[in-house]
Symmetry: C2
Subunit: 484 residues, 2 copies
């Protein structure tokens, strides 16, 4: 027995810290000894370039590191202070910066027609037909490949788009204003689930719905907003998080609250009663209606941090179905990209992982601004849609506090005793800990023209975070600071 050993190590009551294989701890635990397992891993999973960058960062003088902290505090302040209001719904050509009749905006970082994934090509085809620039799929594909059409990321035009994220001149868009900073953001209206343009479908059913949205829904929402006054999205998102939404893949509460807010003004408008009823039914039938408001709300919240020297906070995450891209607050205009991931998810009947396109869409702007996957603990019911157990939702949100710099003061999680959502991703912490931002998302079919096939959780590729950190260290190192 232990107490008979002559060696103190084997005589005293042991309290073990295990840094080795888990099985070591199991053996010790089996003998009734308490064991602590720190979740230790080598920084940056031992990646040499990333470790070197982290090492250099740690060697910088305290004055520089204070400046970084200050820059990140400023980023946190701006993110949390955002006051997004929906003020109008107008055709993109009237309001979106740089929009013209041959411009097609898309989700994610820049991508050419040649490199576009199937669902994004499908969205482009549908949009060119909607705009009357092509009448068949073949004509649209020829035009798209001809060089006559300009492709550009939504993010370069103050905009965001879910999934393929296609926006063209005639589409009605929400106009959001961040009243804390005066900047604006734009997003198309949500079409619902299934066969829709943003998942790459472009059948007549899809185009008919888009024409109705252009001719009836958009103008009606604009009238209602003008009559009622702007929608305070900071308040509505905060309420929706108390009602089981997380603002990315669960938007039933937010959709309800917007319907409640706009309903009376729609009723009092000049619209025919049957049009009002049609609009209310459309909103009621589409629990993702609110997604296209949380996205520009988040875009309007992150744009004020797009140029904060020395900040290590991520100002954009976005995917185009080919690449996942990241931008940093201190490196405006530079995208760091890596191949977009496959989504781990639940599939609609008749589909499987073999049908899935890679991760796509600007909707990861919600996670960038502290909601969506980062607020999953507010929305345990979402696991029915994206897979997993309710406890996963709590665990994933809790992890995100390890890679963020702030807790949102308005966006709170009841189940965590109203703790603010983890807000503002620090690329240094992501690389150091290897904890990747958690993103929940829809899944598009990989071929153009099919549509949605599922939803799930996705881990962004670690490479673009490492590249961003390396570039940051290069750009802010001693030589750069000396103006060299």
């Amino acid at each position: 027995m232990a107490e008979t050993s002559p060696l103190p190590l084997f005589r005293d009551q042991l309290r073990v810290v295990n840094l080795g294989l888990p099985s070591f701890a199991d053996d010790v635990r089996a003998q009734g000894v308490s064991v602590v397992d720190p979740a230790w891993a080598p920084p940056a999973a031992g990646d040499a370039r990333a470790v070197a960058a982290l090492h250099e960062l740690l060697s910088w003088p305290e004055a520089v590191r204070a400046r970084i902290r200050q820059a990140n505090q400023e980023a946190a302040r701006r993110l949390v202070a955002a006051q997004p209001f929906a003020v109008r719904v107008r055709p993109a050509r009237e309001v979106v910066p740089g929009m013209h009749s041959k411009l097609v905006l898309h989700a994610g970082p820049p991508v050419t027609w040649e490199r576009m994934c199937g669902p994004m090509r499908g969205g482009v085809i549908g949009a060119l037909m909607l705009e009357g620039l092509a009448s068949t799929r073949e004509q649209a594909e020829t035009l798209a490949a001809s060089g006559e059409i300009e492709f550009s990321p939504c993010h370069h035009h103050g905009s965001v788009g879910p999934m393929a994220g296609i926006m063209t001149a005639s589409m009605p868009v929400w106009v959001l204003e961040n009243r804390a900073f005066g900047n604006k953001a734009y997003c198309t209206l949500n079409e619902g689930l299934g066969k829709v343009l943003r998942y790459g479908a472009f059948s007549e059913e899809v185009l008919t719905r888009l024409r109705w949205m252009r001719d009836e829904l958009g103008p009606a929402l604009d009238q209602a907003l003008l009559a009622r006054g702007p929608l305070d999205l900071r308040s509505i998102v905060a309420q929706a998080l108390q009602m089981g939404d997380e603002g990315h893949n669960r938007n039933r509460a937010g959709t309800s609250l917007v319907l409640r807010a706009l309903g009376p003004a729609l009723v009092e408008s000049e619209l025919p009663r049957e049009a009002v009823a049609r609009i209310l039914r459309f909103m009621d039938g589409n629990d993702h209606f609110f997604l296209n408001l949380t996205m520009p709300a988040c875009k309007s919240a992150v744009d004020p941090i797009s140029d904060i020297p020395f900040s290590t906070v991520i100002s954009t995450m976005a995917r185009n179905g080919t690449d996942f891209g990241v931008r940093l607050a201190s490196l405006p205009g530079r995208w760091f990209t890596a191949e977009a991931s496959l989504v781990d998810g639940l599939y609609l009947p008749g589909f499987s992982a073999a049908d899935a396109a890679r991760d796509i869409g600007d909707s990861v702007i919600t996670e960038t601004a502290g909601i969506g996957g980062f607020a999953m603990a507010a929305a345990p019911a979402i696991v029915r849609f994206v897979g997993g157990r309710a406890s996963d939702a709590l665990r994933l949100t809790s992890q995100m506090y390890d890679i963020t710099i702030a807790e949102h003061d308005a966006y709170q999680i009841p189940a965590l005793d109203f703790r603010g959502t983890p807000t503002g991703i620090d690329v240094v912490r992501v690389v150091e800990t290897g904890i990747l931002p958690v993103v929940n998302t829809g899944i598009a079919h990989k071929e153009p023209g099919v549509g949605m096939v599922g939803a799930g959780l996705v881990k962004p590729p670690v490479a673009c975070f490492r590249d961003a950190l390396v570039a940051y260290v290069d750009a802010h190192g001693p030589r750069a600071r000396m103006g060299g």
Copy 2:
């Protein structure tokens, strides 16, 4: 040191179970020894009559105890199978069994005008004025005391009413049908918060709103229901529990879903557009609108268990502000009452516990049917309204599984990995464990005419559960079983 002691007790590693004072465990734990504290207490807290009743129950032959289990299984089956639909909104006089022009229904067990609490008297005064039976408070009080008015519990007329629960002939009521069993239930329309009849207010503002509800709101809702078809409340309650409601004091999601469901039909009705807008604004402005649907939904679910011989399940809990009353499935028609409790809650600015009436209202029908306080884990945000921390919501729901006989298959709690809500309270378990049903509730001012002053959690008085158990044992004991 321990290992030097000659006695095995002091030499071996101890694993202690502490049944004594908690401080014993603390002392042992302070020495690094693991301690288990079973939450043990004497059955029925040592109450002699209750212990005797429990003892007798345990001595009954297995055949009888099997019959009890079978009866309770049947009660569970009926509770969970309920399919409440809202089918119409009609004036009480047309639909509520036994309603007549001199009848005033009230919440809770039977109570005379003389014993009525302040807010219930206030509700009676307002209702008599609304019905044109009195024009002043004094006239109403004289009439109420004259014996000319019949007072009767809502529960005796297939109805339930929140707080004072006053219902008179002209009031519009929801007509619910439990399609699994064909029974009906009725409830007035919710007036909102603050100065309202159900909290004992009866000013002109209150009466004007009630007249509008009678003349415009009630008929409009009826038209919308007829046009749209019945509302499936089983489905809506299930959804609302996924959206942070618990169906008693948090009804924001349910209210939203009902508004979404009825909105289009209201728009398409013959009503003037300004009336439709007024109705939508009223619903949008009153997040408790849905309470008056969850209550009759629950009433319609428990009425089919009001006469199940041998069942120990509670078929009714209700309070009139003077008494808290309980009925058992196997003792139809018998109320077991004890003085209503004071509520532990949060108060509106300017009010305190000194202003509070005792626990009042039929809304505890929600807990009786497995939602409300029993589903608090679905609604952590409710602690902002009733006090406490989010973790309390989880803990309280978890406790309720100890005193219930079933888990609801449709009403599920996301945060508990979709576990069904604890449904069907067994009076034997309540008395044995001393765990009282958790009820969250509004708080009325104790004087007539004031209105709401707060909200909180309340523990029902244990005496009525013990009395019910004693009566049950008397009624089902050997002599009774032999027809003696």
